[in-house]
């Protein structure tokens, strides 16, 4: 037995193991769970007892089954989000709620840039929540920060970019151009807001293509830090490219001893032909190891509800705007689902609107009738608007869902007023329906769209309370234990890793989240405030740095 073998004692250990749901002692050896129970039960093992966590609560390490490593890149740049967030080093960045605060933060960031013409980049700008809608980050506001260096501000949605005069000039964007998405102010002058492909392509190229979703070693290391700080021990990149550079980054990161995360990456199928995609997947699968899981495939069917690009069935968007966009022609989607399924690949399928869900259910029904496959575990990602009838089909087809419960806090007020209206908002991200229909349930953050923080996601699914304090859809609330399950074992199931992580059972990896309070003995409204000490990965403790208030 290796010399890392020991017994951790804790105030309590939540196991999600039906044989012994809660224990006080767990023995770990060779990075795995050796035994769990009382001190007496484990005494015969003759292992040293580590009392470091004797006043803390352990539970299975959280599994983020739909995230993006780009959240590790974004902290290289200035954070302009409306809500406070913690960076990988544990610094708290207060939310930015008006133009003056944004300008101050950009000015402070600029002083740290060595080079006088180096680009200043900021992210997660979220002006829809600002009280003063007349003072936004237009070209003039950004020019107050600098007229000589290029400045680019990415919106929280990721779909809009604001720039200053210098960057407009460097990207050849001037008043004589009349093109889509080059926005103008009331006087007809360029506002600095860029809403479409051509203009964004031009400015991103000037700045060396930041924030387009590529990974490198540093980005993955920052992702791991963010994960450790919130108790996550397995996290995913659900839009991965398996090009040589990216694969090398994944492999190098996972091979580092102090890399405190198991990484799971699903290949974005959009950028490849089906043949190329399958070839890349086969190649990538060879590189999988105990800290790296490659080989599944991501497909995107529609857009997002908050940006009105999800495909909705009748009656469409509540405010009457046009229906959303297919990301692929439906015929093409049918072909991709069929071919990847036939090849035995597991699919993670992004569907937000109910029309997109219907399309995928139709396709899968046909494909599964033709090519039945046991335990395919194809997972509907986001799946925010599935109806009861659709859940009945989801159950029949053996699909999993990974719901986006954080929406209920961040955007439910907008969903009620604008996107889906007061009736349908009550069943957005219907976790209770999933459980009633026995559909395997996971819950995710889609970081960086919303922050990586499973206890906060649990709070959202349990309370369904919006930013304004309203409860949307009481009937779809689930219990704390059900939420914790969806964020650990449930999430692991959708990644086909439930035999390795997600619960505390003999033989599984010794991965834990280390909490300061007991989530099952905490008021439902206070779950999000439980402090996280850090994690244990393969039996080794990693202290987080997010204890700052």
């Amino acid at each position: 037995m290796s010399n890392t073998a020991k017994i951790y004692v804790a105030r309590s250990i939540i196991t999600l193991n039906p044989d012994c749901p809660e224990v006080t002692h767990v023995a770990v050896s060779e990075g795995k769970i050796l035994a769990l129970g009382t001190l007496q039960e484990l005494a015969g093992l003759n292992l040293p007892i580590d009392e470091k966590f004797s006043d803390k609560v352990l539970m299975p390490g959280f599994v983020e089954a739909h995230g993006h490593a780009i959240c590790g890149e974004s902290w290289r740049y200035s954070y302009l989000g409306f809500d406070q967030q913690y960076d990988p080093s544990g610094n708290c960045w207060p939310g930015i709620v008006n133009q003056q605060q944004a300008i101050s933060r950009l000015q402070a960031a600029q002083e740290k840039l060595a080079d006088a013409d180096m680009g200043l980049i900021a992210w997660h700008y979220d002006p829809i929540f600002w009280a003063d809608q007349k003072k936004l980050l237009d070209k003039h506001a950004l020019d107050l920060v600098s007229k000589t260096r290029p400045i680019m501000v990415m919106h929280a949605s990721g779909h809009i970019i604001n720039v200053n005069s210098k960057l407009l000039e460097m990207a050849n964007l001037d008043e004589s151009l009349h093109i889509e998405g080059l926005m103008r102010d009331e006087q007809g002058h360029l506002s600095g807001e860029l809403r479409d492909l051509a203009t964004q392509f031009a400015v991103l190229r000037v700045l060396g293509n930041p924030l387009i979703g590529e990974v490198d070693l540093d980005i993955l290391q920052q992702y791991a830090k963010l994960a450790t700080n919130v108790g996550v021990t397995t996290a995913s990149e659900l839009y991965a490219s398996f090009d040589d550079d990216s694969l090398s980054s994944y492999r190098t990161a996972a091979a580092q001893k102090n890399f405190s995360l198991r990484l799971y990456a699903a290949q974005n199928a959009e950028t490849l032909s089906i043949d190329q995609g399958l070839e890349k997947l086969q190649q990538a699968q060879l590189y999988s190891n105990e800290k790296l899981y490659l080989g599944s495939c991501k497909l995107i069917v529609d857009g997002s509800i908050q940006s009105f690009t999800a495909r909705l069935s009748w009656p469409g968007y509540h405010n009457g705007v046009a229906n959303g966009a297919w990301k692929q022609a439906p015929q093409k989607m049918r072909q991709m689902i069929r071919e990847y399924h036939r090849a035995g690949v597991q699919l993670h399928i992004h569907v937000n609107g109910d029309q997109a869900i219907e399309l995928v259910l139709d396709i899968l029904e046909e494909v599964l009738a033709e090519y039945p496959r046991a335990d395919h575990r194809h997972t509907l990602q986001h799946c925010q608007l599935a109806s009861e009838a659709q859940f009945r089909r989801i159950a029949k087809l053996g699909l999993c869902v990974n719901l986006f419960s954080n929406h209920l806090y961040y955007w439910a007020d907008q969903h009620c007023a604008l996107t889906v209206g007061p009736s349908r908002v009550k069943r957005m991200n219907p976790a209770a329906s999933a459980l009633q229909h026995n559909v395997p349930l996971a819950i995710h953050s889609d970081t960086p769209v919303t922050p990586l923080n499973p206890l906060f996601s649990a709070w959202c699914a349990v309370n369904r309370i919006s930013r304004s304090g309203k409860v949307y859809g009481k009937a779809q609330r689930i219990s704390v234990l059900q939420a914790l399950h969806a964020l650990t074992l449930g999430a692991a199931y959708t990644l086909k890793l439930d035999h390795l992580v997600g619960s505390i059972e003999v033989g599984k990896y010794a991965d834990f989240a280390v909490l300061e309070e007991h989530p099952l003995h905490t008021d439902n409204m206070a779950i999000k405030d439980i402090k996280v000490w850090g994690t244990i990965l393969s039996g080794v403790a990693h202290q987080g740095v997010q204890n700052v208030v």
Partner: protein, 304 residues
């Protein structure tokens, strides 16, 4: 590799976008262009595998073919597209023409905008290939109808492919149908048999600077643009507005009236209609309106 400075004196490189729904014949057209190429083209395709470009063809051809995302390159700045196009722009002096194959659901107009921004490129227009035998069905389809309309709207040239599957009568119906929304030249072809020079020497229509057209590009609803060289009486206009059917969700437009000075911005939502002075001026003298409705069929409301 030519030195970068030689770019200065070079002419702009023409940029052509080929759009159209899946199966319309974009592949055949690109293969044909490559087969008859006399100069090096940079061809950015969406999906190498599906394209089935004859490899011999590429070897004989001195240009370069770069495979891109097969997704909606008009909706996504995913690494594949940004980088692929970036590579072409970095060595533009190698090519006499850049050709982009848009994905089956892309709006070619939005891709053409790249050439309007990039100083070294010249916008040479959008060819939209349509499957003549399927078009009327596709245009009515609940899932893809709006995409087809959007592509037709963006076209500087329409290629009605697979014409031999149609009777003369069916062709006339198609002509009549398309003339309602597009003034782009139309050619009936079979398997896109058309000369390179005809396709690659278009003049790209300038993008309309008016704010009204931006809403047309929404996927999902159905829009109709109404153009008129004539001014209209403002009272008659208001009567016309009052008669619009209730399924028209949005209306927007710039107008010149016979009985009122200046340019006017008209905006209509489901419940109300407003006219306000439009101060940015407009060189056009007549009227241009967009109507957006939920009906999955052309809006046949004659304006004046």
């Amino acid at each position: 590799m030519l030195p970068k400075s030689s770019l200065k004196n070079q002419q702009k490189v023409p940029f052509t976008v080929i759009g159209g729904f899946l199966g319309a014949g974009k592949t055949s057209l690109i293969n044909r262009l490559l087969r008859h190429a006399q100069q090096p083209y940079a061809v950015l395709v969406n999906d190498f595998g599906a394209l089935n470009i004859d490899e011999k063809l590429i070897q004989q051809h001195s240009g370069e073919t770069i495979a891109l995302a097969n997704g909606c390159i008009c909706c996504s700045l995913a690494a594949g597209f940004s980088k692929g196009l970036g590579q072409v722009l970095d060595k533009l002096d190698h090519f006499s023409h850049v050709i982009v194959e848009a994905s089956g659901i892309a709006d070619p107009g939005r891709i053409q905008d790249i050439a309007r921004i990039e100083a070294s490129l010249e916008a040479r227009g959008n060819i939209v290939v349509l499957d003549a035998s399927e078009l009327l069905q596709q245009a009515k389809d609940n899932l893809i109808g709006s995409i087809i309309h959007q592509q037709i709207d963006a076209a500087d040239m329409l290629l009605l492919n697979k014409q031999s599957l149609l009777s003369n009568f069916e062709k006339r119906i198609l002509e009549n149908y398309l003339s309602q929304f597009s003034c782009a030249p139309r050619y009936f072809t079979d398997w896109t048999n058309i000369e390179n020079s005809q396709v690659l020497n278009l003049v790209a229509r300038s993008r309309n600077s008016n704010p009204l057209l931006t809403e047309v590009n929404n996927h999902g609803l159905f829009s109709q643009v109404i153009n008129s060289d004539q001014r209209i009486n403002s009272v008659e206009f208001k009567l016309w507005v009052a008669q619009l059917p209730s399924d028209i969700l949005r209306g927007k437009g710039l107008l010149h009236f016979t009985d009122r000075a200046g340019t006017w911005l008209w905006q209509k939502s489901t419940s109300q209609s407003t006219l306000t002075p439009f101060l940015q001026g407009s060189v056009e003298r007549g009227c241009e309106l967009v109507l957006i409705g939920k009906k999955n069929e052309p809006l046949l409301y004659n304006f004046k």
